[in-house]
Amino acid sequence: MSAALAPTRRRFIGGTAATAGALVVGFHIPRKSLAQTPLPDEVNAWVVVKPDDTVVVRIARSEMGQGTLTGLAQLVADELDCDWAKVTTEYPTPGQNLARQRAWGNFSTGGSRGIRESHDYVRKGGATARVMLVQAAADGWKVPVAECRAAKSVITHQPSGRSTTYGKVAAAAGKLKPPADVPLKDPKDWQLIGKRLARLDTVEKVTGKQVYGMDLQMPGMLNAAIKACPVFGGTLKSFDAAAVDKRRGVLKVLRVGDNAVAVVADTWWRAKTALDALPVEWDFGQHAQASSAGFAEVLKAGLTAEQAVVGNSNGDAKAALAGAARRIEAVYSYPHQNHATMETMNATARWTPERCEVWTPTQNGEAALAAAAEAAGLPPAQCEVYKIHLGGGFGRRGAVHDWVRQAVAIARQMPGVPVKMVWSREEDMQHGLYHPITQCRLVAGLDAQGELQALHMRISGQSIVAGIFPQNIKDGRDPVVFQGLNAPGPEASIGYSVPHLLVDHAMRNPHVPPGFWRGVNLNQNAIYLESFIDEIAHATKQDPLALRRKLMAQHPKHLAVLNAVAERVGWDKPAPAGRFRGLAQTMGFGSYVAACAEVSVNNDGQLKVHRIVAATDPGYAVNPQQIEAQVEGSFAYGLSAALYGECTVKDGRIEQDNFATYPVLKMDEMPAVETVIVPSGGFWGGVGEPTIAVAAPAVLNAIFAATGKRIRTLPLKNHDLKKA
């Protein structure tokens, strides 16, 4: 099995100046026999040094394009003082983590937490390994360790000038007792952290050699296509297997759980076409009449409901609004959206009564293992998950492993045979975990001088936590729903001071399953607040930047990124002829972000986003060129959502089924993006998600500047932007 999966060594691109002697990234899946015990050449859980000085850094988080594999390797390698040119990476398996008392900590790769939540212990892993390697060298020379120094994988005994390499002493180092509390470097001494290093995983992605879950091939493997009841909550009544089971290649037609049917065949195409031809009867269940229009009514009622859970408050907003000289009010809403990863959900599973193995692209190997074990009817210790490179994640492949359960349920009916189950795009589009829908009613109270005195934000709508982790709802409160609106603090805090503030939530949960969607609740909350701040600025005839600066005086980190944007874009000078600007800022996933969009809207109402200036303060910037890539990508994702992103429900099911009905942003609409990184140090923020939240409001505010039209519902494709 390993042989089929381990083309391990990446090839060089021959003759390119860029990669001559490029480092080689292993795609290494440790064999079962290695799962229970440390590898012989392991210095510690994080670091393996091979005799040829190759350094293998173990990465617990999943690489899905966000660059965490390279960033985390930089953290370890910097403390290790190893030769970066010889660094490779590998994933420990969830089963190994279980067997070794979670030696690698949390595998969860969402919430932009790869670096921000493991920087401390992975750097300690590198530092501890360095100390052990140097100690092993000193022991070998029988000299005091204080006389030895390490740099670029070479250990030197300074008085004598003798030197050795990490590879030569690694075996001895691995036998030493790990020292406790090894100090970490002062940031000024970092060699790799903060550098614009090339990613470790690029070459195979441009030669077709990168293996994604969908690409997996194993001896004797069969393929499955699956179809679940199109209405969420519905069940499978019956199917007529005889109608397709004589088709070429078809081996089995089977029930999967209570709501799905699958065809297993020699190839996926034969399985898929047989499934398309299979007569199926569904019981659509109690939600067969549900529609987006119905959801909107339910949410609308929540905007004025008496019962609501408070997320943030100061002063007495209700009283202040009642006594305000002037009130401004607006209602916004945000639709359901599919993650639409480029690679559809898939998993390969092999089940026997004693053991279950799953190969799958997952953002959380441990959660995948738990799901696999449950579906397999086996204890986790008798199961294993091998993480395969993800063709996109965006939150879809993290918290809920519905597809893993399906793959295992299929494999249980084909004991001993590896079966690869791949979702069609249609299945993927209609069985997602959707961006939650919410509406928001904002009411501002101004005093006689037009100063903002009170603000009430009532959010009504769907709770991701209630849908996925209901045990985490305490007293009806979903803490995540207030992202970007929290009281001052290190996470997702509001950037404005308002004397009387109330942010509350009336939870309303339609039957459409919600999911963590890249950017999560920061996305719509930033749209609501940043658009409404612009509404206040317009109503009180203030410059949107000037008003923000006034309200942000007590929030210097929020303000600093906004100022960085204003300076780069030249806010104090007019935009180029025909172009109009809009601002937005927010804070979440540990980082402060802001953006300015420059747009034009022609006489036909056609929008063009010409230029984006975006600033981000992630505290420490581990790899600036990859932060730039994430910021650019965030605009592609955020603008796709703003322009087109909408899943509508009719008859209880999602109407959109593919990219023809769920369009996304392409090359011709991608704006130029100028990224300003302003790391203020002292904290570690994420970069994969926060910027998404400022993409839409910056553009919406620019559209208002261009047209006078205030767009309060998304996506923009539903609006006519022609000047009235």
Binding site: I13, G14, L197, T207, G391, S634, F659, D668
Partner: protein
């Protein structure tokens, strides 16, 4: 049996006539660099060259491909990843998740063959592939780098392990 000329080699496959070329490449021939993304020619992840023309193989029935038509997949674009487009992609760290990138590389290499110095509009019209990670600006920069023979215009200052900066 049906004969196909794939990456310069004559191959024989035994498949139903309506099987899309994509799935013949992936399943009968094991060439998995060509990806399934949508099945309706909307995303371009399945792009291959047919006699040099970028073609979305997910909607191309294999029965419509002549044995003499030259099919080139990402695996056959160069023997070792040394095609100028692949080199530029590596130099500028274009891919993120990478799933769409083989299709991007195939579309870009076909464009540059017909238009060695494409304008922004040429690029917009030719590269209609979907990338959900949002690599579009680096894709554009890499195409221009190939056209200009230099990666410097992208201004990315990426440090590679051999000491080069692109």
């Amino acid at each position: 049996m049906r004969r196909l000329n794939v990456n310069g080699v004559q191959r024989e496959v035994d498949v139903e006539d309506d099987t899309p070329l994509l799935w013949v490449l992936r399943e009968q021939l094991g060439l998995t660099g060509t990806k399934y993304g949508c099945g309706i020619a909307a995303c371009g992840a399945c792009t291959v060259h047919l006699d040099g023309v970028p073609t979305r193989s997910c909607v191309r029935p294999v029965s419509t491909v002549e044995p003499t038509e030259k099919i080139v997949t990402i695996e056959g674009l160069s023997p070792d990843g040394s095609h100028p487009v692949q080199k530029a992609w590596v130099a500028l760290d274009v891919p993120q998740c990478g799933f769409c990138q083989c299709g991007m590389v195939m579309a870009a290499s076909a464009l540059l063959k017909t238009k060695p110095n494409p304008s922004d509009q040429d690029i917009d019209e030719a590269i209609t592939n979907i990338c959900r990670c949002g690599t579009y600006n680096r894709v554009r920069a890499a195409i221009k780098a190939v056209a200009q023979g230099s990666t410097k215009s992208a201004g990315l200052s990426i440090r590679h392990v051999d000491g080069s900066v692109t």
